[in-house]
């Protein structure tokens, strides 16, 4: 049985009359890299703020490491986060920014700070003040700050924002490595879906404050896999034909589209049988759905 280190129950956050997060039930397994996907304003950041302890839910609850309510305070120190843009003291160096957090966490030793800087590729940054950092460097330092104290749950909000392609690959590899080697569970939000798909093991799709769908990477791959897409004038009659052909893995998507996910090599045969039944076929082809179009379809109004 899977162990969930984070579970939310009807989690809700309201600002004025607007529900930014509207009763979500999120489940994150230990060791997972959970990708939270959603358009701008979907409620991702607000959700992460609540989980990171920066913001209190209006209603609903959540448990971390099996603790909830007043007991949450006991495990707060095991969660670390990088929310929105990195919070840095501009007049301090990368070393000083890290040192301040290390002191707060009771971590001693310069070696630890140097190791953290090297881990995110800022080992050679020297005395340069954080206010003179590029966006990418700030992002790396933000990740290093989030990693201080070896948290069990790392909450990262759009961590690859502003990084160059090389930086994206480095951070992606780093996240995969720390998840595997140190068993750190990562909850990560991003709008760069293709990038998220390269690291995430689980997904949560948010739209308008609600969690529309939760699925594993395998399930998502299945849904975005190859299939026959047929556009016919009478889908209900087409279903009878497909049943007659022994095809059961199909889905009527709208009033004229059917997705058939088996016997892909028999597309010509299926076409002929549908024709024989007197159906008007305006399109039939083998296609696959991109992650992006799957996301857009799922979050469509």
């Amino acid at each position: 049985m899977s162990e969930y280190i984070l579970q939310t129950h009807e989690l809700r956050k309201v600002f004025g009359k607007q529900a930014a997060v509207d009763g979500i039930d999120l489940k994150v397994e230990r060791g997972a890299i959970y990708g939270l996907i959603g358009k701008n304003g979907a409620g991702k950041t607000t959700t992460l703020k609540m989980i990171g302890g920066l913001s209190a839910p209006t209603s609903g609850s959540f448990s971390l490491f099996g603790k909830s309510g007043a007991e949450l305070a006991e495990v707060r120190g095991r969660v670390s986060c990088l929310i929105e843009d990195p919070g840095l003291f501009g007049n301090l160096t990368a070393y000083d920014n890290l040192k301040a957090k290390c002191l707060c966490y009771g971590i001693k030793g310069d070696d630890y700070i140097k190791k953290m800087l090297e881990l995110v590729g800022l080992g050679e940054v020297g005395k340069k003040k954080a206010k003179h950092f590029s966006l990418g460097m700030r992002q790396r330092l933000g990740i290093a700050l989030a990693m201080v104290g070896e948290p069990d749950l790392l909450v990262l909000d759009e961590p690859i924002n502003g990084l160059d392609p090389e930086g994206i690959v480095e951070i992606r590899d780093m996240l995969t490595r720390i998840s595997k080697e140190k068993g750190i569970t990562i909850l990560i939000s991003s709008h760069i879906l293709e990038e998220l798909s390269k690291v995430a093991t689980h997904y949560g799709i948010m739209s308008k404050g609600r969690l529309v769908e939760q699925l594993t990477a395998e399930e998502l791959a299945d849904r975005c896999s190859l299939r026959i897409e047929a556009v016919v004038d009478r889908p209900e009659q087409a279903c009878t034909v497909l049943d007659g052909l022994g095809i059961s893995n199909y889905k009527v998507v709208d009033k004229e589209t059917i997705y058939i996910s088996e016997r892909l090599e028999d597309v010509a045969y299926i076409n002929r049988e549908l024709n024989k039944a007197g159906l008007l076929i305006s399109k039939i082809a083998v296609n696959n759905e991109s992650l992006e179009s799957y996301f857009l379809n799922t979050t469509a109004d």
């Binding site: 703020k49 990171g52 302890g53 920066l54 913001s55 209190a56 305070a73 006991e74 707060r76 120190g77 969660v79 670390s80 986060c81 990088l82 929310i83 929105e84 843009d85 990195p86 919070g87 840095l88 003291f89 501009g90 007049n91 301090l92 000083d96 920014n97 040192k99 301040a100 957090k101 002191l103 707060c104 966490y105 009771g106 700050l145 989030a146 201080v148 104290g149």
Partner: protein, 280 residues
């Protein structure tokens, strides 16, 4: 909490404003103290200062800052008078307030709070850590002030009469306590409203006696209601800072009570506020 205090102290001494404010105040203090004798020996200037002093006594409420060191008849200065004149004139409070605003809001304004705020077990620890940093800053500020005043006295060649040690300890401790509490009030305001600008305006309004005008207005109202010797300023920390000097032994107890009440109310208030409100 001890770790959080370490963090606050570390970032405090790493702040540029920490050193800049100390340096500027030290330089101003050395110059003003060393020139004070020269100013007082100029008959025209002395007359003008004395006229301003007498006007101040008559005015109902004065806005602005007034610092003057009283000279003994033999031309010497009391050590305590030299040290506390700027404190009583709210100059020390003004600079402690300015630094506190910059310091207390820095982690909120930069977003650094997001790095550790969520992991804090009890949010009142954050208030305690910042309050400790304010104590350390006030102590350092007073130490710097005594040193720069001494240097000013030395450069100006003033004659200094040493006050009894017990009196020095008493006045410095009470003024120190009042300034710490003043810093805590400003810190609490910063944590509650989280705005540099408004907090800075409030600091200046208190230090430059703008609020004293409001107190005066309230006093008039209270007098009409029947409280004949109403004086709100007496029950404020800033009022006590202006009042407490060499011969203030009789108000020692009430001054401590005022300081403790303000400290408890503001620190408790900001702790509760931080506990109830979102950090970002």
């Amino acid at each position: 909490m001890l770790n959080m205090i370490r963090m606050e102290l570390y970032r405090m001494v790493r702040m540029k404003s920490f050193w800049v404010i100390l340096f500027i105040v030290a330089v101003i203090n050395v110059i003003t103290v060393s020139l004070d004798d020269a100013m007082m020996s100029d008959p025209e200037l002395r007359q003008a200062i004395e006229a301003a002093e007498s006007q101040k006594d008559n005015a109902a409420a004065n806005i602005g800052m007034s610092i003057s060191m009283k000279q003994n008849e033999d031309g010497s200065y009391s050590f305590l008078e030299t040290i506390t004149s700027a404190a009583k004139g709210m100059l020390v409070a003004l600079f402690i307030g300015i630094f506190t605003v910059i310091f207390a809001t820095a982690d909120f304004n930069t977003g650094y709070i997001k790095n550790y705020g969520g992991a804090v077990k009890h949010r009142w620890h954050m208030v305690c850590a910042k309050a400790t940093a304010v104590i350390v800053y006030t102590a350092l500020f007073f130490a710097m002030f005594i040193l720069s005043t001494s240097l000013g006295v030395y450069i100006g060649g003033h004659k200094i009469v040493m006050d009894p040690a017990g009196k020095i300890v008493e006045v410095l401790c009470i003024q120190g306590l009042l300034h710490v509490v003043f810093g805590w009030i400003i810190m609490s305001i910063c944590l509650i409203i989280r705005s540099n600008l408004i907090s800075m305006i409030i600091t200046c309004c208190i230090s430059l006696h703008v609020f004293a005008a409001l107190y005066e207005l309230a006093d008039k109202g209270l007098k009409k209601l029947g409280w004949k010797d109403a004086s709100i300023l007496k029950y404020t920390v800033s009022g006590r800072i202006m009042q407490y000097g060499i011969d203030s032994r009789e108000i020692l107890g009430s001054t401590v009570v005022v300081a403790v009440i303000f400290a408890v109310v503001f620190c408790l208030g900001s702790s509760l506020w931080l506990t109830k409100k979102d950090l970002v």
